[in-house]
Amino acid sequence: MHYALLLAAFASLWTFRAGSAVVAAPAASGSNVVVADTQGDVFALVRATGKVRWSTIVGNGVWSAPIVFGNRVIVSTGDHEFVAVDPPMYAVAGAHPSGIVALDKRTGGITWEYDLAGSGAPAPALSGSTLIHHDGSSEVLALDAHDGAYRWRTFAASTAAWNAGVTVGSDRFATSGMFPNSVLILRVRDGVVIHRISFPPRALGFAQARIATDGKRIYGTYFLTEPLPVEHLYAVDVNSARVLWDHAVDQGANAAQLPQLTVRGGIVYAGSPFRNMMQAFRAANGTKIWEAALRGRSVGGAVIQNDTVYAADGGGMITMLDAQTGAVRGSYNAGSDMQDSTPAIIGDMLVVGSANGTVHSIPLAEIRP
């Protein structure tokens, strides 16, 4: 009882206005929440109040979640601009300076930075103390997260634009890229490409859609255009590199970006680029388990806790769904366009950015029927 009262006192409803859109998931950093916006401002906000503890400009936009590593906050910066696109063999993303920047988590001071040849908009991944990033020039670069020291690099021959790399177990890193369209699995130790899985040359989205993994499979999405875009969802076995399943999921016009996937308990959760809904697919075979209506589109990815899915959408609503059935358990009207923003649960708050730069911190208890 005493603990619950303490939690309730700690959780608070606040908003903070950044200078531009906040699409990256916020990150917990001690008593702070770190958020980053698409014009390159990183803010440490007091978890309880939303007050700014420090802010730092890192030079270019931040599109992926800050990574808290020891006493560092690490962000990758870049832009979405394509320097060249020549399907099906070639693309370069990132027209402006890009890099990986590590900040002191107490002060926001820059402790190290490492420039990138192509866009830093794709999300890096951390495996132990190795930070791995796939950039818009097709390089996969590994750095020591402590000091930014170079570890290795590998040419992926496939371009990342604003997708994400993920670690698979403790020794592998997976990423995707476009032209040629592929999913790659690399060894964390030295960057050797273990598997390269090819996808149709006319497919779109391999540089944009973020893959997800449960350690056994890699899940991803892409579009085929015939003539309206068809969204595909696929799964690749991480050991055999076989495509286990690849299903056309939906078709429509006026597509938003491909949804960020979340995998938990044998279920893949995905919003829809075409419709205002959240969907759940069986990870083993890709069959749809349920779909639930939302007020707006939700492609930034869902967050899951205690068998509950939280989705933020473009209609300004945060919806709480039963993870097994999709039944709506509650909602909260935040009033901001959160279509592309990834929420995070920090303590007993849901924190999410939005297209107009407003960051919402909402006690989970406020998301109710």
Binding site: V83, D86, M89, V92, A117
Partner: protein
């Protein structure tokens, strides 16, 4: 090169809108020249009048490449985007682009953005235009449409280097960080061999290689006092020349040529091989060297007015080149004796000369393109 349709020798001087860092090209009565001001100029060989100018998005430091009626050039600058030698260096911080330009009108036909600088000069081999840039990414394009046919990465970053077509379906290239010379199959980018040099050697990003039917020739600088960053502006250095076996990439010989202060830019000296003799100037000292290609033995050395970073051309037993002291030279190619010199008062940097009929065409660091009868260098 010879062209009976145009006069044997002409004389003119044209401003190319910025310093010149590459060799001119010639075709159909027209000289094409790039400039650091980002301008490709088409100059009438007969008169020196400018037919058209094409403006690129950054410096043009590569040699224009004429393919049919398309001139291919590549833009980019020398600033580093990633600087972590000896592990990882990416050159080119501004926009970098490959362009196909209509040789008759100067209108753009196609362009393709690249991630690293377009300073290196590409090559047409096996019907493909192949270019390597400041990220070490090698791209093969259809030279008429600009569409990419393949891409690979040779790991080494390139700046003022050039690819060389061996005429057998393979090409040669070189780059730095890691320091390497490589032979690559033109049809798909497969590496035939890749010879690595020590980390702390300079000039691999700047120095192209030359080849004959048996050997590959190049040069590099070694710092007298190596430092952990492997970089030595205003440090003392030693110039080396080397030969690799063309078939295997194995080192055949490596010898010291000269010694001096390492320049802040353009550390290389462009080699030429002719009749088994390797000609190489020096970025460290005002010298031209001739070496026996088979053994590396120094055949002769000639002291000139300034450092010789540019390449040279041999016509009628005479070797022509310019130096940074503003002098044009004609040396006996066998013995190195001075057969002629001409003081033009313009520093000649890395813009190598060409000879059309009996006219030497060369660009200067200050942006002038000169057409001079070779008989005037006497």
């Amino acid at each position: 090169m010879r062209d009976p349709a145009v006069p044997q020798s002409v004389r003119w001087r044209v401003n190319a809108s910025g310093g010149i860092s590459s060799s001119p090209s010639y075709g159909n009565g027209t000289i094409y020249v790039d400039s650091n001001g980002g301008v490709l100029s088409a100059i009438d060989y007969r008169t020196g009048s400018v037919r058209w100018r094409f403006h690129a998005n950054n410096k043009l430091m590569s040699a224009p490449l004429l393919y049919g009626d398309t001139v291919i050039v590549s833009s980019g600058d020398e600033q580093s985007r990633v600087w972590d030698p000896p592990h990882y260096v990416v050159l080119g911080s501004g926009p970098s682009t490959l362009y196909g330009v209509d040789a008759r009108t100067g209108r753009e036909r196609w362009h393709l953005g690249i991630a690293g600088t377009g300073m290196p000069t590409g090559v047409v081999a096996g019907g493909l235009y192949i270019h390597v840039n400041g990220t070490g990414t090698m791209i093969a394009l259809d030279p008429l449409s600009g569409h990419v046919r393949w891409r690979t990465n040779v790991a080494s970053s390139s700046a003022m280097t050039a690819l060389a077509d061996l005429g057998d379906g393979t090409i040669l290239g070189s780059g730095g960080f890691p320091n390497a010379v490589y032979r690559v199959r033109a049809r798909d980018g497969t590496v035939v061999w890749d010879h690595r040099f020590p980390d702390c050697a300079a000039a691999f990003t700047d120095q192209p290689v030359a080849a004959d039917t048996r050997h590959v020739y190049g040069g590099y600088l070694k710092l007298l006092t190596p430092n952990p960053r492997c970089f030595g502006v205003r440090a003392e250095g030693v110039q080396h020349a080397y030969a690799l076996d063309l078939r295997t990439g194995k080192l055949l010989w490596d010898r010291v040529l000269s010694r001096g202060e390492v320049p802040s830019r353009n550390e290389g000296a462009i080699p030429l091989v002719h009749d088994g003799i390797v000609y190489m100037g020096s970025s460290l000292a005002p010298e031209m060297h001739a070496l026996d290609g088979a053994t590396g033995r120094l055949l002769w050395k000639r002291t000139v007015r300034g450092a010789v970073k540019s390449g040279s051309v041999i016509v009628g037993g005479k070797q022509y080149f310019g130096d940074l002291g503003g002098m044009l030279w004609a040396l006996d190619s066998k013995h190195g004796t001075i057969r002629g010199r001409l003081h033009e008062g313009l520093p000649f940097n890395v813009g190598s000369p060409i000879v059309v009929n009996r006219t030497l065409i060369i660009g200067s660091r200050q942006g002038a393109v000169l057409a001079i009868p070779i008989d005037a260098v006497r």
